[in-house]
């Protein structure tokens, strides 16, 4: 079981914008934590910091108690291998086949990267890729080019790619923000089913309050780079949530309502 510990994270961009200020929280093994926040609240910066894609100004991220910023490249790869990531815009390699995209999920485990290329992939990896695709219900589309699929299907391919990793922790950055409500719901359901059946830990960033309420066991709220609250779902009233979207500026409020709840 993997644990994630974020300690006093701060990030100031070179242009002086403060993206994160003193953010601390823990995600315990087996938990499903949802982070809520509107555009520009620092969500994505936080997401990228967790796997060291973003240089921090101060603070530290611990994975299983190990500070990740000081890890060597090789050790960082070993940590990343255990963490499956799901992105807002899927990040498939669009002119390759669905099957090939899923195979690439094994890059961290295969003997060499070449073993994840369809031409050279060993039979067990090819079988596993088909099983992962089947888990997301897309085995019949394995041969298609990734860009021939709908948005919801592409996100499911991305989830299958992530399953190839056998992740212990799933990080999802707005996995349904680029999808229509119906496809979004299907993706969330699928993701949560997988999390339950494999007893994984999940840290999911969302901006839709209603979706967060439905799936999260614990909710963190980020506002202007600061952690506004961190509570179990049952303790959260609509009033607390409305705090998150409270704005001094009426025009801004309107635009957030459009984008968010």
């Amino acid at each position: 079981m993997i644990s994630l510990d974020v300690a006093q994270l701060s990030k100031v961009y070179p242009d002086g914008t403060t993206a994160l200020k003193d953010v601390s929280f823990q995600v315990n093994p087996g938990e499903a934590v949802v982070l809520l926040g509107h555009n520009g609240s620092g969500k994505s910066t936080l997401f990228r910091s967790i796997t060291n894609f973003e240089q921090l100004t101060s603070g530290e991220v611990f994975i299983d108690g190990e500070p990740i910023q000081s890890l060597s490249k090789r050790k960082m790869r070993l940590v990343r291998k255990r963490i499956g990531m799901v992105f807002q815009d899927f990040n498939l390699i669009y002119n390759l086949s669905v099957f090939q995209n899923v195979l690439f999920g094994a890059m961290g485990q295969a003997k060499t990267s070449l073993h994840t290329f369809n031409w050279f992939a060993p039979k067990n990896l090819r079988m596993k890729a088909m099983e992962c695709l089947d888990r997301v219900g897309l085995a019949h589309l394995a041969n298609r080019r990734a860009d021939a699929l709908s948005g919801g299907q592409q996100q499911r391919v991305a989830i299958a790619r992530m399953l190839m990793q056998d992740p212990e922790l799933i990080l999802a950055d707005e996995p349904i923000a680029s999808l229509d409500p119906k496809a979004g719901r299907e993706v969330m359901d699928l993701l949560w089913e997988i999390v339950r059946e494999r007893a994984l830990t999940v840290f999911c960033i969302l901006h839709q309050m209603d979706v967060a309420k439905e799936y999260g066991e614990r909710i963190l709220a980020l506002k202007n780079g600061r952690l506004l609250f961190d509570r179990p779902m049952q303790e959260i009233s609509d009033e607390t949530l409305s705090l998150l979207y409270e704005q001094k500026d009426a025009a801004k409020l309107a635009s957030y309502e459009e984008a968010g709840a």
Partner: protein, 269 residues
């Protein structure tokens, strides 16, 4: 609307033309001077133009009908030209890909490596191909090898630059997705950068083949093998009918290659 009149907007209204800067004015004077001096140097006169037209007439009279008697021999030289272009481009493209990876901001191992590689590539491109051909003829002697080496250099100058531009445009997301699986730098490049750029690489390489065929024709003029050698001989021996035949064959080959390459490009992109 009280102060309407002639004087209104005098300050604000833009002038019809801006006064040129001193530098701009001097540059214009220098360029115009070169223009006139150049025209004078060309010794332009009505007589010479008239003679020129007459000479063209003579050339045409002697060249038509084209001499088909040496076609088999000429065809051999054309095939050699085509092979010089193809072999040169193939090796050039193979070298261009790693060079482009070293020269691109997002894939280069170190900024110094990137700057040096870019410098070398633009030097390869800046020196005209005929000069490379002359150098290689001295190095490896007359014949197709000098041509092939020249085309390789020329292709690297062209392809490495465009490959690298494409690589720098590639979206970061997919690479990051692979990185997040624990992939190595090699895996990330082979799995996301190269496939994403592939259609563009193929398109650029096909352009390079077209370019190489035209170059390979010219390279013969300095002895680097191929049809250019034949054309040069025919022209200097004033066998214009044979020269015309060679020119026609060159046209056919160039146009055919361009057609095929256009079709492949349309299919791939």
């Amino acid at each position: 609307m009280a102060d309407q009149g002639k004087d209104r907007w005098q300050e604000e209204m833009p002038a019809r033309a801006k006064r040129p800067s001193l530098g701009g004015f001097l540059l214009t004077v220098v360029v115009v001077a070169f223009l006139f001096s150049g025209l004078a140097g060309a010794n332009l006169s009505v007589d010479r133009l008239f003679d020129g037209v007459l000479n063209l007439g003579h050339f045409t009279m002697q060249a038509v009908p084209p001499d088909t008697s040496r076609v088999p021999h000429v065809l051999g030289a054309i095939v050699e030209t085509f092979e010089i272009a193809l072999v040169g481009t193939a090796f050039g493209v193979m070298i261009s890909l790693p060079v482009a990876l070293l020269a691109s901001t997002n894939t280069s191992p170190h900024p110094v490596v990137r700057t040096v590689t870019r410098g070398v590539v633009s030097m390869l491109r800046t020196v005209p191909e005929l000069i490379w051909a002359l150098v290689f003829v001295i190095a490896v002697g007359l014949g197709p090898l000098a041509g092939i080496l020249t085309i390789i250099i020329d292709t690297i100058g062209f392809c490495a630059r465009f490959f690298s531009e494409r690589i720098e445009e590639i979206r970061k997301g997919p690479s990051q997705a692979l990185e997040s699986t624990g992939a190595t730098q090699f895996g990330i490049i082979a799995g996301s950068v190269v496939p994403a750029g592939f259609p563009s690489f193929v398109g650029t390489s096909l352009f390079a083949v077209e370019k190489a065929i035209r170059s390979a024709v010219i390279l013969g003029l300095v002895g680097a093998g191929g049809i250019g050698v034949e054309l040069n001989t025919a022209m200097s021996m004033r066998m214009f009918d044979e020269a015309l035949m060679i020119i026609i064959l060159i046209l056919i080959v160039v146009i055919t290659v361009e057609q095929i390459s256009t079709r492949i490009r349309k299919k791939i992109i």
